[in-house]
Amino acid sequence: MALLQTTERSPVGIADARGGAFSQWIGRNAAILLLGVVLLVLPAVATNFWLDQVVGWTMILGIIALSLMFLAGYGGMVSLAQMTVAGVSGYMIAVFGVSSLPAISLFWPWWAAAPMAIVIAVAFGALTGILSSRTEGIYTIMITLAIAAAFFYLTLQNWPIFNGFAGFTTIPAPVAFGVNWKEPIPLYYLILFFAALSYLSVAYISQAPFGLALQGIRDNPRRMEAIGYNVTAHRVAAYAFAALIASIGGILMVWLNNQISPGSAGIEATIDMLVIAVVGGLGHPIGAFIGAFIYVILRTFSLDVLVAVGLDGRRFQTLIGLGFLVIVLFSPDGVIGLWRRLVDRAGRSNNSGNGSGH
C-alpha cells in the first residue's frame, strides 16, 4: 500500500518566539491564504459560468473527493462509496425538500430537509464503514464499489422513492436569512464557505488525537489494537465523519445542478471521484481540490482541445483514463507528490553545498 504511506509532512515545530509564530504560520500557509483571497474576490471579476460551473463545481467535487482523501490518506481505507453517500444526501434533499415531483417530495423547509438528508447519509456512510471494516485493505475497494453499484442500480430501478432513471428536477437552493441562495453569487459563496469549512476541519482533525490515532491505525492496525485503541470504532467514526463531508457536498451538488438522477451518483461518477482524489494526491487535503480542478477543466474544455488537435471530441473518458494511468504509474502520490518532488529538487540544488539534503 505504498500509495497511502505519504501523508503530509506536517511541520509541527513550536516556534521559539511568540511573535514569530504568527508570521511563520502565515509563511507556511501563504499559498492557501492567497488562494482563499482570490476565491473571495473572484465574483468581482468572473462571469457566472466560471463562478458556478467551473469554480463552484470544482469545490463541490473537491468536497466529496476530500472525504475520500480523508478516508484513504489518513485511514488507509479507499472507499468508493463516497460519491454514493453524496448521492444519498442529494436524493434525500429532493425527497424531503422541494422538487418538481409533488407525488414523492415532502416539501419540508430547508432547515428540516437538509439536516434530515445529512443524518440519513451519515447513517448510510457509517453502515458502509461497519461493513467494510469487517475486512481490510484491498477488500475495502471491492465492497464499497459493490455498495456504490448496488445503489446506482437501485436508483435506476426504483420508482416510489428515487423516481427511476428520470430522477428529480427543479430542486432550488432555498431562500434563507433574506438571501436567495439560488442566485449565482450567493450560491458561490455558500459553496466556498462549506468547501473552506470541510478543508479546515479535515486539516484540523488530521492533527487532532483522533486523526493521529487514525493514521496509526492506517500504518499498523495490530499495534494500535495492542496499545488499546478500538480499531473498528475509529474506522467507523472516520467513515461517519467522511460521510458528513460528502453529504454536504451532495446537497450542494443538487442545489447547483438543480437536478439529481441515477447518473449523478452512478458508477462512472463513483470512479471519477477516485480518479480526482488519486490524481490530486492522497497526501494532503488540498489534493482533492487540485484533482477536482484538473478534472473540471478537462471536462469543460477537453472537447475544444481534442477537436483543435484533430481528435474526436467524444474521447474525453479515454483522456481521463490515460491521465489517471500516467499518474498511477509514474507519480503514485498524485500532482501533490509531483509538486513536492519538484520543490525538493529545487531545494536540493540550492543547498547542494550545505549537505543538508534528506
Binding site: 500500500m1 505504498a2 500509495l3 497511502l4 479507499v78 461493513l131 469487517r134 475486512t135 485493505g137 484491498i138 477488500y139 475497494i141 471491492m142 465492497i143 464499489l145 459493490a146 455498495i147 453499484a149 448496488a150 442500480y153 437501485l154 430501478q157 426504483n158 420508482w159 416510489p160 458508477i267 462512472e268 470512479i271 477516485l274 480518479v275 488519486v278 474526436d312 467524444r314 474521447r315 474525453f316 473518458q317 479515454t318 481521463i320 483514463g321 490515460l322 489517471f324 494511468l325 498511477v328 504509474l329 503514485p332
Partner: protein, 353 residues
C-alpha cells in the same frame, strides 16, 4: 491460509462422511431435509389455487428459478476468472467487466463473419486471453505485491477500454444470434399449471439457456478436477497459499501468472458471448458484470472456485426472484445478501482466511 480451492476429500469417503454428519447434527439434517422436500414440492407439484392466490402463479416462480439458475451459470463463468486471478495474484481486476464486454463484441464479430456460434467462443476466448496476457506481462508484472496500485491501474484501464469500445462498436445494444439447432424452447417435465380439463401444462424453456448452464457446470467441474488432480493445479494451489515459496522452489511463477491471467480473461470473454446470446451486450454491461463478479466473490469467498459457484447461484437467483416479486427493490435483495454474509462470515461463505 490453507488451500482455497476446495478440499481433497476422496470421493469414496463421501458416503460415510454424510452418514456421520447426519449422526452428529440430527436437528440440522431434519431442517435441511424439510427444506429440500418443500422445495421439491414447490417445483414439481402443481400449486393449489389458494396457494397461487397468495404467492402468485407457479409459472412465475419456476421461470424465476430457471432464469436465476442459468444466470448463475453465466455469473459463474465471469466470476470464476475474477476469483482465480485474485486468489493467485492478489490482483483485484476491476477491468474484468471490460474483458467480458470485449469478449462479447469479438464473439459477435466472429459469428457475423463465419455464421458459427461456437467459433465466436473461440475468438472471444483468444482475444481476451491476449489482452489478459498483455496486461499481466506489461503492467502487473512490474508492480507485484502493490495491491492498491494494481487495482487503480485496472480501474484506469477499464475507463479507457470502455471508451474505446464505445468508439468502435457504438452505444447500441448488440444481440448475438442463437444458432438454429439451439433455437426455441424445449418442454421440461415440470408442471406449471393444470388446465380445467385436468390436463397438465408443462414448462417450456429455451434450450440455449439450458445448454449454456450445462456447459458452465462442465467447465466448473473440469476446473475443479484440473485444480485438484493435475500438476498445474497443484502449482496454482501452492501459489495461492504461498507464491514466494513456490518461486523459491524453482517453479516459473511468472509463467503461471500469465497462464492464469490469460485463462481467467478468456473465460470472461466466453462469458461475454454467452451474455450476448442470453440478453444483449451494450455500453454499461461491463459495470453490471463487474458488480456481479464482485458480489459473487464477496458472497462466495474470495479466491475460491466452489465459492464462486455457490455465490453465482445465490446472486443469480436473488436477482431473478427480486425482479419477479419486488421489482422496485430487486437490487436490494442482492445487497442484503451481501450485507448478511459480510456480517456473519466476512471472508465469504466458502472463503478462508
Amino acid at each position: 491460509m490453507s488451500t482455497a480451492f476446495g478440499e481433497d476429500n476422496p470421493a469414496a469417503a463421501r458416503g460415510d462422511a454424510l452418514g456421520r454428519w447426519i449422526g452428529r447434527h440430527p436437528v440440522w439434517s431434519l431442517v435441511i431435509a424439510v427444506v429440500v422436500i418443500i422445495f421439491l414440492w414447490l417445483v414439481l407439484a402443481p400449486w393449489p389455487a389458494g396457494f397461487e392466490a397468495v404467492f402468485g402463479k407457479k409459472r412465475l416462480f419456476v421461470n424465476a428459478l430457471f432464469n436465476g439458475t442459468t444466470l448463475g451459470g453465466l455469473y459463474f463463468l465471469v466470476a470464476t476468472g475474477f476469483t482465480l486471478i485474485f486468489g493467485l495474484m492478489r490482483n483485484v481486476n476491476l477491468a474484468h467487466g471490460s474483458l467480458y464486454l470485449f469478449g462479447g463484441y469479438m464473439g459477435y464479430e466472429a459469428t457475423q463473419w463465419t455464421n458459427s456460434w461456437l467459433f465466436g467462443f473461440v475468438i472471444a476466448f483468444i482475444s481476451c486471453a491476449i489482452v489478459g496476457i498483455a496486461m499481466q506481462f506489461f503492467i502487473f508484472r512490474r508492480m507485484e505485491g502493490q495491491d492498491l496500485r494494481q487495482t487503480l491501474v485496472t480501474l484506469g484501464l477499464s475507463i479507457v477500454f470502455a471508451d474505446l469500445m464505445v468508439w468502435v462498436w457504438g452505444g447500441n445494444a448488440i444481440q448475438i444470434d442463437t444458432p438454429d439447432y439451439l433455437l426455441g424452447p424445449t418442454p421440461t417435465p415440470i408442471v406449471v399449471a393444470l388446465k380445467s380439463s385436468g390436463e397438465a401444462v408443462f414448462l417450456q424453456y429455451p434450450i440455449v439457456r439450458l445448454v449454456i448452464f450445462a456447459a458452465a457446470v462442465i467447465i466448473g467441474v473440469a476446473m475443479w478436477i484440473a485444480l485438484n488432480r493435475t500438476r498445474i493445479g497443484v502449482m496454482i494451489r501452492a501459489g495461492v497459499d504461498d507464491r514466494d515459496m513456490l518461486s523459491v522452489l524453482g517453479y516459473r511463477v511468472q509463467l503461471l501468472f500469465i497462464a492464469v491471467f490469460a485463462f481467467g480473461a478468456g473465460l470472461a470473454g466466453m462469458a461475454g458471448v454467452v451474455g450476448g446470446t442470453f440478453q444483449s451486450i451494450s455500453l454499461g454491461e461491463d459495470s453490471h458484470f463487474l458488480l456481479a463478479s464482485l458480489q459473487v466473490v464477496i458472497v462466495g469467498g474470495m479466491g475460491s472456485i466452489p465459492g464462486a459457484a455457490l455465490g453465482a447461484l445465490i446472486i443469480g437467483l436473488a436477482e431473478q426472484f427480486g425482479q419477479t416479486y419486488f421489482q422496485n427493490y430487486a437490487t436490494v435483495s442482492t445487497f442484503v445478501i451481501m450485507v448478511i454474509v459480510l456480517a456473519v462470515r466476512p471472508q465469504g461463505l466458502l472463503g478462508r482466511r
